[in-house]
């Protein structure tokens, strides 16, 4: 099912710590069609400033509710954080190609998936973890410091194992989440049937793609890029791949690590 353009009612829009906000919208259409890794594109106000929509990853979809999670950093997200429950937002979604779910037929005890999240990259991976929780994925979350580690309790509540990496060592493994990934793979008995799913800053994704290739593991990387249209028309948000430039908004945001040439 394709995307729709709708006026979605704000159910709640709450800061939960620092600049991080949870936004809950009412939309049966988007909720019913949303897949992990897809996003919605929101007009945060009726003004011409900011002009463009803001793409936000879908955190979860349940019944008629769509949950989003954003960091109010720039002009668009700051305006969004001022919108209140009961108001309506012009939303287009669900957009893009999400994650392909891991193959079935894994042996008992076999780890099917490792999810690697950097910073805000946790958002689409929460949605993914919900869908594949029965295969007991391992979740690795990385950030600069303890306070920037997001959603760890949410992942744990889903019954997934969570390992944390911080650059300053304030929580969990001291170092990059990609170094933690390397360590996990070295300790694993076999990488057979394993998939890596990752979302985070571009240098992190590049490193994850490289590690996956070296270990002959499939990786699916969810990219972030400035977008103008979000629906594949403007060709603004392209990324270099084996088959030329491809659109992050329409052909992605999830790409196979093997496909990307960055």
């Amino acid at each position: 099912m394709g995307p729709g353009q709708i006026k979605a009612k704000i159910i709640s829009n709450k800061r939960f710590k620092d600049n991080y906000w949870h936004l809950e919208l009412e939309s049966r259409l988007i909720s019913g069609r949303a897949l992990p890794g897809q996003f919605v594109n929101i007009k945060v106000s009726d003004d011409v400033e900011p002009l463009l929509r803001r793409p936000l990853s879908i955190h979860s979809a349940n019944g008629s509710r769509v949950r989003l999670f954003y960091e109010a950093l720039g002009m668009g997200t700051r305006v969004l954080s001022n919108r209140v429950p009961g108001e309506f937002l012009d939303v287009i979604g669900p957009l893009g190609n999400g994650f392909s779910l891991p193959g079935k037929g894994q042996g008992p005890g076999c780890q099917a998936a490792i999810l690697v999240a950097g910073g805000m990259g946790v958002v689409p991976l929460i949605f993914l973890a919900k869908k594949i929780r029965s295969s007991r994925p391992l979740v690795l979350i990385g950030a600069r410091t303890k306070n920037k580690i997001l959603c760890a309790p949410e992942f744990k509540a889903l019954g997934t194992a969570v390992k944390i990496a911080t650059d300053d060592g304030s929580l969990g493994f001291k170092g990059r989440v990609t170094e933690l990934l390397g360590q996990v793979l070295r300790e694993a008995k076999s990488a057979k049937g394993l998939s890596i799913y990752a979302c985070g800053p571009r240098p992190m994704l590049k490193a994850v793609g490289k590690i996956a290739c070296e270990n002959n593991i499939d990786s699916q990387l969810s990219l972030e890029e400035h977008m103008a249209c979000g629906i594949g028309a403007c060709l603004g948000c392209v990324v270099a791949t084996q088959s030329g430039y491809r659109r992050v908004c329409k052909d992605g945001p999830v790409f196979s690590g093997k496909e990307l040439t960055w």
């Binding site: 394709g2 729709g4 007009k43 400033e49 463009l52 400035h226 028309a233 603004g236």
Partner: protein
């Protein structure tokens, strides 16, 4: 006063008859497929395709867009699959819509590429008109064809000889006198001019001291350029007789009306498609309402209806 029920929105551009004067601008609508989930494409007056070149083009290096005050920059660099793939893979969908398809074409290295494109497209039924994109700011040329009246005249004359199809010439706002260039296009046999392409522009990330887009500079579009576009439409309207297709920051019915009043016979919705995919069809219905409310029977009562200030 009895209000009319159904105003006449039809308009003529050369030999092209449009059921309404609302088009979508080249480069902002892909090849229309992307918009099918959001609007009934058949409602549009016409569709102008993303610009086609002889050979496929990868386009410019990313990042290719950035937001600016009430506008945006783009430097896509005419990414397109090339004429053959366009005809084979994109045109069939467009033809099925049953509305006029205007194919935007450009040359990269040699104006002769326009000749090849015009010859090939002239033979194709279902291509209603050609738009000559001689004004793309993202090819890193020292001078655009449409920045010189003589070059514009020569290029339009060249293509005019090769096709009987409706010919629209799209002009750059980065000129000393838009009416001089518009007049050159008219004298060379263009059926209409499209005003305006994006304005050459640049935006800088001051923390990194880097340009915000990969190819350093790009084209500015959106509401920020609307007053520039309206003035250029008005200037050209005072000078030429062929129809003007007005564009530049049209977001809604209100902003589209400025262009008609300034002298545009039709308008194109561009950047607004990115923000509100329904903008074009909302303008069509808004136009009907406006004409009825103001007791105007058809578009001729609106086009170029600008008056002098009363006091």
């Amino acid at each position: 006063m009895v209000k009319q029920v159904k105003p006449d929105l039809s308009v003529r551009i050369g030999k092209l008859e449009l059921k309404n004067p609302v088009m979508v601008a080249s480069g902002t609508f892909g090849y229309a497929e992307e918009f099918a989930p959001f609007i009934d494409l058949k409602e549009l007056g016409a569709i102008v395709t993303k610009t086609i070149t002889v050979r496929p083009r990868l386009g410019n290096i990313p990042p290719r867009t950035c937001e600016t005050p009430a506008g945006m920059l783009n430097s896509i660099g005419l990414e397109n699959p090339g004429i053959d793939k366009f005809i084979g893979e994109k045109l069939p969908f467009l033809k099925k819509l049953g509305i006029p398809v205007i194919v935007s074409i450009a040359s990269i290295d040699d104006p002769e590429e326009f000749t090849a494109l015009a010859r090939q497209l002239d033979k194709i039924e279902g291509v209603s008109a050609l738009e000559l994109n001689i004004s793309c700011p993202n090819l890193h040329k020292d001078k655009l064809i449409s920045q010189d009246a003589k070059d514009t005249f020569e290029l339009v004359s060249l293509v005019r000889k090769l096709t009987g199809k409706c010919l629209i010439t799209k002009l750059s706002p980065n000129v000393t006198s838009i009416s001089e260039i518009a007049l050159a296009a008219e004298r060379a046999g263009s059926d209409a001019v499209a005003l305006i392409n994006t304005l050459g522009a640049m935006s800088i990330d001051v923390d990194k001291r880097e340009p915000k887009i990969g190819s350093w500079s790009g084209g500015l579009s959106g509401p920020a350029i609307r007053p520039v576009a309206v003035k250029m439409v008005w200037e050209a309207h005072n000078k030429i007789k062929i129809p003007i297709i007005g564009m530049g920051g049209i977001m809604d019915i209100q902003s589209s009306l400025e262009f008609f009043i300034a002298g545009a016979s039709a308008i194109s919705v561009g950047t607004a498609n990115f923000i509100n995919p329904r903008a074009s069809v909302e303008i069509i219905s808004g136009l009907k309402t406006y004409l009825v409310d103001n007791n105007i029977r058809d578009l001729s009562g609106l086009i170029g209806s600008l008056k002098a200030c009363e006091n």
